[in-house]
Subunit: 237 residues, 2 copies
């Protein structure tokens, strides 16, 4: 969780930033649908200032799950369709996901990738090929533990196979995943605190999209303040 | 976890402070063995200053699992034997547990009790009788998630029965407990990051004591900076 990140040094680590509902899913979807890059920013002010400098960019994001006034797009993966985002820059400001990216960089991570159920296999393959240790950064909701992010972290750990050295948190995530493996993922994600809230706000479809495993087999990488796709299996990765 | 506590308001809640390895276990053991009160303090300076004001008190605690120089006692439950602590005040400074007590008070909790496997049933009975919501405060280790605290939180939730409204974190703890229910508790606790560290330092016996379920059927309550035993079932509780 981001609040744990203050204590963590991650030099030489690859970090996987996880915010299933919804920043990870939206970023992966936007890039898979052809967006050139996503620029995640923490505050509305930063996002609006960046849009002034890059008027051709799309301005997207949320506050309390809803699009801020004057934004082109919210934080729903549905909105980031190919016809909307192809070739475009997306300036994205979300509550938890952006902070998690920045926290991973601040901790010294060597590479930061964006992970969601929608690109699970690509993330597992990347983690397998990375020579150093892996840090799974669960963004959580409003600074608190979230079930969907931990479940996904467990699914990645499970995909990495046996014989790993696991932190207590990683063991707990793996146990969650093993316990619920085979259950209806959309129902599990939708049953989390954040999932129930999104469903109440009419974003039920977003939950189904977030739970569509491997629907977007791409690997978004956060580097120097921008997220772009990296061809899977690139040398040096 | 304490880092989550900053965001939590807990007015009307009862808080259970959980630091299985070892502050909770040591506090419960000291009081069960006849100590009059335990005064948990955050810093070594505060603890030493308090000892100067109360020279009859025992000065106990740890930094990096070991007793600080000049202390009467460390943070091992073994040391808090009846012949040592009966009728005495214990000034205790530990890294994670004390902060968790203070965080629970700062969040506005109405009552703060100390929970460990050693008084599990007493804590479950207290939680059942408390009319408001319950906050389980896992102290963690150096600001990070710890398996043993979450496992205990799950064991308390399990003891409270069906039909509860659970946060995502509470659901995860319950899943951990259900997954490992029936396994050797001392081995589980000893297999955590903190457990392995304590075993390396020669404190393996402390892990066995921490995992001795219901060995001390008492309910320590933190109030106005002191922890004392409260008779279980006291009116107003």
């Amino acid at each position: 969780m981001p609040c744990e990140m203050e204590k963590i040094r991650a030099e030489g680590f690859a970090a996987v930033v996880i915010d299933i509902l919804r920043a990870s899913t939206t970023i992966i979807t936007a890039l898979a649908n052809g967006a050139e890059r996503v620029i995640p920013l923490t505050t509305l002010e930063e996002a609006r200032a960046r849009k002034e400098k890059e008027p051709d960019a799309l301005l997207g994001g949320e506050r309390n799950a809803l699009p801020p006034p004057g934004f082109d797009l919210g934080n729903s993966p549905r909105e980031y369709e190919p016809e909307r985002v192809k070739g475009r820059t997306v300036i994205l400001t979300t509550t938890n996901g952006t902070r998690a990216c920045q926290a991973a960089v601040a901790a010294g991570a060597e590479v930061v990738v964006i992970g969601g159920f929608v690109n699970r296999r690509a993330v597992v393959e990347f983690c397998r090929s990375f020579p150093g240790p892996i840090l799974l950064v669960c963004a959580g909701t409003r600074g608190r533990f979230s079930l969907e992010d931990s479940l996904y972290a467990g699914s990645v750990i499970s995909g990495l196979g046996e014989g790993l050295q696991l932190s207590d948190g990683a063991r707990a995530c793996l146990t969650l995943y093993e316990r619920w493996q085979g259950c209806d993922l959309a129902a599990l994600v939708g049953g989390s605190t954040h999932g129930r809230r999104l469903a109440d706000l009419g974003f039920g479809e977003d939950i189904r999209l977030a739970a569509a495993v491997d629907s977007h087999p791409v690997l978004p990488v956060y580097r120097e303040g921008e997220i772009r796709l990296e061809p899977i299996g690139t040398p040096g990765f």
